[in-house]
C-alpha cells in the first residue's frame, strides 16, 4: 500500500485485526448490497462475541445469518429480524441479545456516529418501548427522545465501483446503509465489483469520498434475491 492506495489483495488482509468481542457496523438492506464476502471471511475466521449493527441479520443461509450457525454474534442491533430461523431460536433462548431500533434512527445513528455527533433528538419512538430509559425533551410543543449515535471497530461495506483511493459509487438500492456505515468504522473495509484508477470516476458522481475508506477489495458477488417478484413480459404498459 502506498499513498492513498487502499487496495488489498485478500479477504484475510481485508479483515486483519478483527478480534473477538468487537463491534461491527454492516451495510445492506436485507441481502441487497450486503458485504457478502467479508461476512464469509468472518465466518471462516471464527471470530466470536461480536456486536453487529445492521438493518437486518440476513437470512438463515445468507448474509449475516451465516454468522449465527457458530454463534459468532453476541448482540444484534437491527430494525427488522425476520426470515432467519437461527436468529429466532437464539433470540428465544437468550443466547443472542437483540436491540430493536427504528430504521431511520439506525441510519441516523450511523450518520451521526461518523460525523462526530454523539447523540440527537428524534420524535421516532416517543411513547413506545424504544423510548424506555431515554431522555425526553420538548421542542416547539412536540416530544422527542435522545438517541445516541454508534461507531464500530470495523465497518463492512459493499459498493459497486471504486477507484484505488477508495472513492465509492453505489448502485441503485444497494446503496441503503452502506455509505453511512462506511463513515462510522474505526477501520472501514469496502468490497466492490470493480476498481478503477484515480481520475477515472467523475468527481461529481462519487457518492462517498475515499477519506472514509481504509481497505478496499474487489470481490465476486452472488447477489441473492430474497423476494423475486416479476410480471409477465407481455403485460401492457401502466403507470406506477
Amino acid at each position: 500500500m502506498a499513498g492513498f492506495n487502499k487496495v488489498v489483495n485478500s479477504y484475510q488482509e481485508a479483515l486483519a485485526g478483527l478480534e473477538d468481542n468487537m463491534t461491527l457496523i454492516v451495510g445492506g438492506f436485507g441481502l441487497c448490497g450486503n458485504p457478502e464476502n467479508l461476512i464469509k471471511e468472518i465466518k471462516r475466521r471464527g471470530t466470536t462475541g461480536l456486536t453487529v449493527v445492521s438493518n437486518n441479520c440476513g437470512t438463515t443461509e445468507h448474509g449475516l445469518g451465516i454468522l449465527l450457525f457458530d454463534k459468532q454474534i453476541k448482540k444484534m442491533v437491527a430494525s427488522y429480524v425476520g426470515e432467519n430461523d437461527n436468529f429466532e431460536s437464539q433470540m428465544m433462548s437468550g443466547e443472542l441479545e437483540v436491540e430493536l431500533t427504528p430504521q431511520g434512527t439506525l441510519a441516523e445513528k450511523m450518520r451521526a456516529g461518523g460525523a462526530g455527533i454523539p447523540a440527537f433528538y428524534t420524535a421516532t419512538g416517543y411513547g413506545t418501548p424504544v423510548a424506555e430509559g431515554k431522555e425526553v425533551r420538548e421542542f416547539n410543543g412536540k416530544k422527542y427522545i435522545l438517541e445516541e449515535s454508534v461507531t464500530g471497530d470495523f465497518a463492512l461495506v459493499k459498493a459497486y465501483k471504486a477507484d484505488t483511493y477508495g472513492n465509492l459509487v453505489f448502485r441503485k438500492t444497494a446503496r441503503n446503509f452502506n455509505p453511512l456505515a462506511a463513515t462510522a468504522g474505526k477501520i472501514t473495509v469496502v468490497e466492490v465489483e470493480e476498481i478503477v484508477e484515480p481520475g477515472e470516476l467523475d468527481p461529481d458522481e462519487i457518492h462517498l469520498s475515499g477519506i472514509y475508506v481504509d481497505r478496499l477489495i474487489k470481490g465476486d458477488f452472488e447477489k441473492i434475491i430474497e423476494q423475486r417478484t416479476v410480471r409477465p413480459s407481455n403485460q401492457s404498459e401502466q403507470g406506477a
Partner: protein, 218 residues
C-alpha cells in the same frame, strides 16, 4: 358487506392527490398503487432508498440491486431518484412525504397506533414504521375493524406496545372510514351495506355519528 382488501386499497386511492409523494406500507397499502385515479400523478417512496418506484420487473428486467422496502424486486419510473437510508428517513421524518399508508393491529381514540409487536409472540421488529408514523402528518391506517372473533381493534386505549403516540388521524377499515380527533372516533363513511349500528357495535372507543353517514363510493 365488509370491504375486500382490494376495496380498502381502492378507497384509500381516492385520497391521493395530483403531485403527491406517497409511502405505502407492506400488505393492503401496497395494493393502493394499483388504483391511482386517472389523470393523477403520484410518486412512490420506498424507504430503503428509492423515490419513483415502478411496477414489478419482467424476468429480463430483474435486478438484485433494485428492491423495495418489502425486499421485492421492483423497477424505477422515469424521474426516479436513489439515495441512502439517512436521506430516505430525512424525507420521512422531515415531513416531506405527503401521504403515508400503513397497517396496524390496534388504534385508539388518542391517535395511538400499535402495529409491530405482540408480546409473547415472536418479535420481528418495527422496520421503518416508527419513523413513518412519527414523521408524517398525513397518515391513513388500513386495518380490519375487528378480529375474527368480533373483538374491536378501534379502542379506548391500545393494549399492545405502541408504534407511535398521538399520530394517527385517519383510519380506513373494512367497515368504515374514520377520523380521530378530540379523543374520539368520528364516523365519516361506511362500507356499502354496512349499518351505523354494526360499526358502532364493533367500535370500542367512543364513536361520534354526526347526521346521515354516506356509503363509500367506488
Amino acid at each position: 358487506m365488509a370491504l375486500s382488501r382490494e376495496q380498502i386499497a381502492q378507497r384509500v386511492a381516492q385520497e391521493l392527490k395530483d403531485g403527491y409523494y406517497v409511502n405505502l406500507g407492506i400488505g393492503i397499502p401496497t395494493l393502493v398503487a394499483n388504483y391511482v385515479p386517472e389523470g393523477i400523478e403520484v410518486m412512490l417512496q420506498s424507504e430503503n432508498g428509492l423515490l419513483g418506484m415502478g411496477r414489478f420487473p419482467t424476468e429480463e428486467e430483474v435486478d438484485a440491486d433494485l428492491i423495495n422496502a418489502g425486499k421485492q424486486t421492483v423497477t424505477m419510473t422515469a424521474g426516479a431518484s436513489l439515495f441512502d437510508s439517512a436521506e430516505s428517513f430525512a424525507m420521512i421524518r422531515g415531513g416531506h412525504v405527503d401521504l403515508t399508508v400503513l397497517g396496524a393491529f390496534e388504534v385508539d381514540v388518542e391517535g395511538n397506533i400499535a402495529s409491530y409487536m405482540i408480546p409473547g409472540k415472536l418479535i420481528k421488529g418495527m422496520g421503518g414504521a416508527m419513523d413513518l408514523v412519527a414523521g408524517a402528518d398525513n397518515i391513513i391506517v388500513t386495518m380490519t375493524h375487528a378480529s375474527k372473533h368480533g373483538v374491536s381493534k378501534l379502542l379506548n386505549k391500545c393494549t399492545l406496545p405502541l408504534t407511535g403516540k398521538g399520530c394517527i388521524k385517519k383510519v380506513l377499515t373494512d367497515l368504515a372510514f374514520i377520523e380521530i380527533k378530540d379523543g374520539k372516533f368520528h364516523l365519516l363513511e361506511r362500507a356499502p351495506g354496512v349499518s351505523v349500528e354494526e360499526i358502532q357495535q364493533l367500535t370500542e372507543g367512543e364513536l361520534v355519528v354526526n347526521g346521515e353517514i354516506p356509503e363509500m363510493q367506488f
